[in-house]
Amino acid sequence: MIELLNVSKRFGDGVPIVALADVDLKVEGGEFVVVLGPSGSGKTTLLNMVGALDNPTEGSIVVDGFDISKASRKELFEFRRKTVSFIFQSFNIFPGLTAAENVQFGADAAGRGDEVDPAVILDAVGLGDRLDQFPHELSGGEQQRVAIARALATGNPVMLADEPTGELDFTTGVQILELLQKQAAEGRAVLVVTHNREISRIADRVVELSSGHIISDGPPAEGKASLDELHW
């Protein structure tokens, strides 16, 4: 589903900052992968390139059979509409739209506005009773759930989440992770970026980054934990 080959990313000229160095990574549908690393290790850069928000300096990225490193601007927009969906640390849901409308937006953006019932999706993320609330009337966890519901509404096979629990308390964070895990179980490729080692314990696979290099890739060191074992 996601395939990175020899991907490097450098910022700036002169003495460039190497954000990613020669990264190879393959993620299949149904996999719940956590990208782990300290701040500045290149996690966001990696995610942005998979989501076609940014392009690599070197190497190729193929997502869902589509080589985004060779695509035109127009094709990239199309790719973002049809293939990936983002979840941001700071939610970035539209303050002018209600919860249901934010979800509807995801569907509209992907061109499947008629196939989706926001109420059903919001119900699935536990917000069945907050359909008509505006973002400022929701807690952080609830807002992030709306963001996940919006990502789900696109129906896209790849879900990219950058520090989705970064602004949330522990319990809420766990609930969000549970939701994301469920999406992988339904066949999507889910890539979650975090600097929190605890979170990586529930992943199928942990990819650890350090200074732009992958230093390990495999199941969690102490084996896959269940959600109720987490604490931070």
Partner: protein
């Protein structure tokens, strides 16, 4: 001290970041204050220039005009003035001989045959000491010219007829005179001949010469008939006037006293200033208010964008005063630049106004200094507004808990507003269709302020252009009626009231260049109703072949007791077709004498001309008026193959003829006047449009920044830039439509006010009707809606080049 230095450096970075907006907003303020100063300055300029011109040419304080056809020997009037009890109060006296004449100033290209007057004074010192003659270039008359056929021609007359600075003219009696220069003099700054109230600068000729030459030309050897006097500063003018009047009366002649303020030229010169001022003040104020509202809105939003930083600063414990520094410095820069632009725009609009004033009104002295006193107060407001606007969001932010300020981020990221009200009324279409309206309703105060700022500008535009349309419309209606089915019709004024079978009158109909005449009796009358109006009644056969007044109501079948009035006259009198109106008409009691008789006339119809004093009666009424078979005016149509010049030349030879003018001459002059006036209005309209575009552009640009993260999120979801732009356009379109609707309403109200209140008070003799031409409608709609709606397209490039990861990474 070091922390202040940091803050200053930080502010400097803000300014660099915002410089385009700083300049654009400063321009908004600059246009608002500058237009105000420029538009309102003309009244001061004109008042100052009037005064200075009068001063320069030593305008009389009192004029003594001997009764018609009376004269005394030269020296007697001056002696009478010198012999009064308070002779010490008299500064200067000048004796004059003033007589009417006919002037032929035709050039190779054009026939110019007009009535006028010869003014003769002692020119030993180069011209009169009182009511001097001002020659722009070259010299005037010298002592050597006394008694010679050498004159000066009045400047305005020459200017309006495109006559050269020197040439020859012919006056009554066929005498050819050389005019060596053109000159201005106070009594001719504005020319208002008897019996008309129209602009007559080009149709009445002043011929200034030596007393001796004037006496030769008029056959009044050694005579004078006019005395003008200036009095000392501490003199009691009325006492001097009475004493001189009595002294002249003792000479055995009738005398009419005119004080300076009653001089028609002087009076109109100053009255006109007041009228103009009232007219321009409304517009100036509205432009200013619109600009101030716009600037306030824009600066507030600029400052609002820093709300999160304010929250952080508060959290760190920085004092609100220090927090306010950065936004206030941006405000200061805008304020300063705004005032600089204001002076520039003021000078620019001022010079436009001046260039038009210059040709509308010929004065020897024009004082058109920048009016700092007028500019000062608007500049103060223009200076304070940016500070208030910049400080307001800071003030709001420091009142909430720091955490809220941080969390809420800038205003645009907040929900709320009126959006909850409509969340249940879903608009048709997908979420892309909902977003623009939600965005507006989310921040209703801001949306309304933006709309109102643009609406104020739109209102000015509608009012402005509508006023032009209404003036032009009135002129057109007047011209259309004057032209009727004989557009080349000439109006021949006779020398007094003559029998229509008088050989000097029948000669008009028999003239080779004339085909078809209608005798007319012109009478001054007074109508009494809700108001008292002076009317210029033309009594003629309303069934004639040549020309009839076009009617808006009623019929031409007026009988011997009916009158046709202007609509505005009927309105002012409070009468309608079929009513009767009390009119005091002159009834002929002798060959050339009339007595006034009060009578009730039937309002038979209303004509289409906007000129209030024009009224018409049928020649059937001549019998009751005791004026059967007489006329003082003849309408004459040029025969085919002849033009108006031919008719003028041929008829001018008759001594029964006073003047020969095209019927449309007065309205042609008015058209010229309007054309120049419209020129200024259009120049100002251009600035107003620029203002609207600037505000729309700024608003769109700030909106773009406020929404950057929302746009980035959309792009992350694959929404095309085109679609995002479309949403921004829809949002602005809504503002544009609302602004235009409000602006249109306000503009119509303003127009109503200008037409029915200002114009009705200041130009009661012209019946204006509110008119808006399709061009005006189009301009306003296109500008109000299209310019505002399309403004976001300016942000297309920035949207396309947006750094998505960077914008999305910003954490809140």
């Amino acid at each position: 001290m070091k922390d202040w230095y940091l803050i200053l450096r930080w502010s400097w970075r803000d300014l660099r970041k915002y410089w385009v907006k700083v300049i654009a907003i400063a321009l908004v303020i600059g246009i608002g204050t500058g237009a105000y100063a420029g538009l309102t300055s003309t009244a001061n300029w004109r008042r100052d220039s009037n005064e200075a011109s009068m001063e320069l040419l030593n305008m009389y304080d009192v004029r003594f005009e001997l009764a018609t056809d009376s004269s005394v020997a030269a020296g007697e009037l001056a002696a009478a003035a010198a012999g009064i009890e308070h002779a010490a109060w008299v500064d200067d006296t000048v004796e004059r001989l003033i007589r009417p004449t006919q002037v032929d100033a035709s050039t190779a290209g054009e026939t110019v045959l007009v009535p006028g007057e010869i003014v003769g004074v002692d020119i030993i010192d180069g011209g009169p000491a009182v009511n001097g003659w001002y020659t722009e270039t070259g010299s005037g008359l010298t002592a050597a010219d006394a008694g010679e056929p050498v004159v000066l021609l009045e400047e305005g007359f020459a200017f309006h007829n495109d006559l050269p600075k020197a040439g020859t003219i012919t006056v009554s009696g066929g005498v050819e005179l050389e005019y060596v220069n053109t000159a201005m003099t106070p009594e001719f700054f504005i020319v208002v001949p008897e019996n008309t109230t129209s602009f007559a600068q080009g149709t009445y000729a002043g011929v200034f010469t030596s007393l001796e030459t004037a006496q030769d030309l008029t056959g009044l050897e050694g005579a004078v008939n006019d005395l003008i006097v200036t009095v000392a500063d501490d003199a009691d003018r009325d006492v001097v006037a009475t004493e001189i009047k009595n002294a002249i009366t003792e000479l055995g002649v009738g005398v009419n006293t005119i004080v300076r303020e009653d001089d028609p030229s002087y009076r109109l010169l100053f009255e006109d200033v007041e009228n103009d001022q009232e007219f321009f003040n409304i517009f100036a104020l509205l432009i200013f208010v619109g600009a101030v509202m716009g600037a306030f809105n824009l600066i507030t939003r600029l400052s609002e964008a820093q709300r999160r930083e304010i929250g952080i600063a508060m959290a760190i414990g920085v004092s609100p005063r220090k927090i306010a520094i950065r936004p206030l410095l941006v405000g200061a820069q805008i304020a300063l630049l705004g005032v600089v632009f204001g002076v520039a725009v003021g000078v620019l609009i001022g010079s436009l106004m001046r260039s038009v004033m210059d040709t509308l009104l010929l004065l020897p002295v024009w004082l058109t200094d920048f009016q700092w006193s007028l500019f000062f107060w608007v500049a103060v407001v223009g200076f304070i507004v940016p500070f208030l606007a910049a400080a307001y969001p800071v003030w709001r932010a420091v009142r909430v808990k720091p955490i809220e300020a941080i969390r809420t981020g800038h205003l645009a990221a907040r929900g709320g507003g009126l959006a909850p009200l409509i969340k249940r009324f879903r608009l048709p279409g997908d979420t892309f269709a909902q977003l623009p309206f939600r965005n507006l309703l989310r921040a209703p105060r801001r949306a309304i302020l933006t709309a109102l700022g643009i609406a104020a500008i739109m209102a000015v535009l509608v009012g402005f252009l509508g006023a032009i349309d209404s003036f032009v419309g009135a002129l057109d209606r007047g011209t259309t009626m004057v032209e009727g089915n004989s557009p080349d019709r000439m109006v021949v004024s006779l020398e007094g009231v003559l029998p229509v079978d008088h050989p000097g009158v029948t000669a008009i109909a028999e003239a080779e260049s004339v085909d078809g005449t209608v005798p007319v009796l012109q009478l001054g009358a007074r109508a009494e109703g809700d108001e008292e109006l002076l009317l210029l009644v033309e009594v003629l056969d309303l069934d004639n072949e040549l020309w009839q007044p076009a009617l808006a109501a009623g019929s031409l079948d007026v009988g011997d007791n009916g009158v046709i009035l202007a609509e505005v006259a009927a309105d002012d009198l409070g009468v309608d077709v079929g009513d009767s109106v009390r009119v005091i008409v002159p009834v002929r009691s002798g060959e050339n004498t009339f007595r006034f008789v009060e009578t009730d006339l039937n309002v038979a119809g209303l004509h289409e001309s906007p000129i209030r004093f024009n009224a018409y009666m049928d020649d059937a009424a001549l019998t009751p008026l005791g004026a059967e078979g007489v006329a003082n005016v003849v309408y004459a149509n040029p025969a085919s193959g002849f033009d108006s010049g031919d008719v003028q030349r041929e008829l001018f030879g008759l001594d029964t003829v006073g003047s020969v003018q095209k019927a449309t001459a007065a309205s042609d002059d008015l058209d010229d006047l309007m054309a120049q006036f419209v020129g200024i209005l259009q120049a100002v309209a251009f600035f107003v449009l620029l203002l609207a575009v600037l505000m729309a552009f700024n608003s769109a640009s700030i909106s773009f920044e406020e929404r950057q993260r929302e746009h980035a999120t959309m792009f992350a979801y694959g929404v095309r830039v085109r679609k995002a732009l479309r949403m921004a356009v829809v949002e602005n379109l809504t503002i544009g439509i609302v602004a235009t609707l409000i602006g249109f309403g306000g503009g119509l109200w303003m127009l109503w006010w200008v037409v029915n209140v200002t114009a009705a008070e200041t130009m009661p003799d012209i019946g204006l009707v509110m008119e808006l031409s399709p061009t005006t409608l189009f301009t306003v709609v296109v500008l109000g809606i299209a310019a505002v709606a399309l403004a976001p397209l300016f942000t297309a490039r920035r949207m396309r080049r947006m750094d998505l990861p960077g914008t999305l990474r910003v954490m809140e």
